[in-house]
Symmetry: C2
Subunit: 305 residues, 2 copies
């Protein structure tokens, strides 16, 4: 077996992922847990990291590169933001060093868009972009990175010109749990991108985004008047919010840019279906691969072989 070269960590708000990477770039071991920043801020970041490193048999002095919320103000060590327009190649140079007696631990910064009219921030997605950039190459790209706070990024020749965050995933969650729609969607299980209610909602919100909060109410009224099943109610809620997001992102897109979707699993399939319903055929990049490749690119610059 090849010797370990570094560990790469994607440390989100509610998730922790670690890859042990060998000298030849292969993944030697992987760990996933729910010990995200929220947990680590209470129990300590170092004990969590060391426990996972020990579990994969990492050597005592193995260096570690981290992206994500561990670098937030309320995280481990604040890693600040790189301001847009930001060349992706500048990310690693703005990494901060975590004081540690044994290891070289670095946390990558986020990106900030400071324009008074459109303030925005990301943390973690910049590393996915760094990893995706190798696949995308130069040219103009619009990169969609769906999630709790979906990011749409304008990328030109390796430089992040600007980006917009849409609160799609979080709104789906709070509306499902805390609004009058909770009754209508409560028993709904998993639906996929082929669901008719999902597709219809994407198209309706995409074409007339101004009616969004009315479309949301039709989830409730549809249940009352037409017995709308919970699965379709959930799919309509999701489709409405995703259709709104895509309409918004396209309203500020440059003509002629290719759209790229960086996502994994069921979310990737849902967005692919939604984008297709609105006439877009994106390039698909797996988000897990992208973040790992971005961390690898950073590690190669920090610790050249």
């Amino acid at each position: 077996m090849t010797a370990a070269s570094y560990a790469a960590v994607d440390w989100g708000t509610t998730s922790f992922r670690l890859w042990l990477v060998g000298e030849n770039g292969d993944v030697l071991a992987e760990r996933r847990s729910h010990e995200g920043m929220t947990t680590a801020a209470k129990t300590g970041f170092s004990p969590i990291l060391e426990a996972h490193l020990a579990a994969v048999g990492a050597p005592a002095h193995l260096p570690v590169v981290i992206c994500g919320m561990a670098g937030a103000r309320q995280g481990w060590v604040e890693a600040g933001y790189l301001d847009t327009p930001a060349p992706l190649s500048g990310i690693v140079g703005a990494a901060v060093i975590v004081p540690d007696p044994n290891r070289d631990i670095r946390i990558l910064p986020g990106l900030a868009q400071r324009a008074e009219e459109q303030p925005d921030v990301m943390r973690g997605e910049e590393t996915q972009l760094l990893g995706a950039a190798g696949t995308l190459g130069n040219g103009n790209h619009i990169v969609c990175m769906p999630g709790t706070h979906s990011k749409w990024v304008r990328l030109t020749g390796g430089v992040v010109d600007g980006f917009s965050t849409f609160m799609t995933g979080e709104l789906f969650d709070v509306v499902s749990k805390h609004s009058i729609l909770s009754h209508a969607v409560a028993e709904g299980g998993a639906f996929d991108g082929d669901n008719k209610s999902f597709i219809e909602a994407v198209i309706r919100a995409g074409r007339n985004p101004a009616m969004t909060t009315n479309l949301l109410f039709t989830v409730r009224a549809g249940q009352l008047l037409h017995g709308l099943p919970a699965l379709d109610a959930k799919a309509r809620l999701s489709g409405t919010l995703i259709g709104l997001e895509i309409a918004g992102a396209l309203s500020s897109a440059r003509p002629g840019s290719g759209v790229c979707l960086v996502a994994s699993g069921p979310l990737s399939a849902l967005y692919r279906s939604a984008l297709s319903a609105l006439g877009l055929e994106p390039t698909i990049i797996d988000a897990d691969d992208a973040v790992r490749r971005g961390l690898a690119a950073a590690a190669c610059t920090l610790w050249p072989a």
Copy 2:
């Protein structure tokens, strides 16, 4: 003092209001409490009503006319819905009788729009419309009734052609309390319609509603990057959702219709300001007056002097 002729009750989800009305139409006494449908469904509707009637010295056989959620399926006695297109004059004929040993108690129905594409319901607002119709007269009107679930109604010569509900107030509430924006708005007190952040948000969402969930995220990013004060954060959240609602309502409005705002108190002032920012100068009708006049119109038909 003139003798009591009937009692009028507006029984909402979380509020109860009762007016004791004299033979000459004057209000002899008024009661307000938080014993809405949610409370009454647990403790019983009749005890709450009788306690308030006793408190204002109502005679034992005084009739009572009720509108609102007391007529919902989960209310006192289900009063069903009148289907659109619905003449306001038909509301009273569809009232249901509450079985009661002493009094003649009637609950007015709601309105339902059963179109598969745009299912919608209202309960209580139809009585406000009945009361407002006297002021509005015939012709084409668009009536805005803001609240937890704002209603925009197309009224033609006393007939409700159709209507749309927007979840504005409820979304403001759940996003303020349960999303990442809760930190940004937590310490914000009351703001008024002159607030600059409110007006700007109304205009931005009104002009480009597709960017709504991005505008919401700028509340958080603005706090992080520019120290956006909590009061302005709250005003921006509110303005964004109200601007979105107005854009949606106008997207389906008939040209040439006059806009009428039926609202009371601070909400009336906020909507007046928002409508004005988007170029509309509505006729203003007080919502409390409107519901009382609507109940009076129903009482006059039910129990002619």
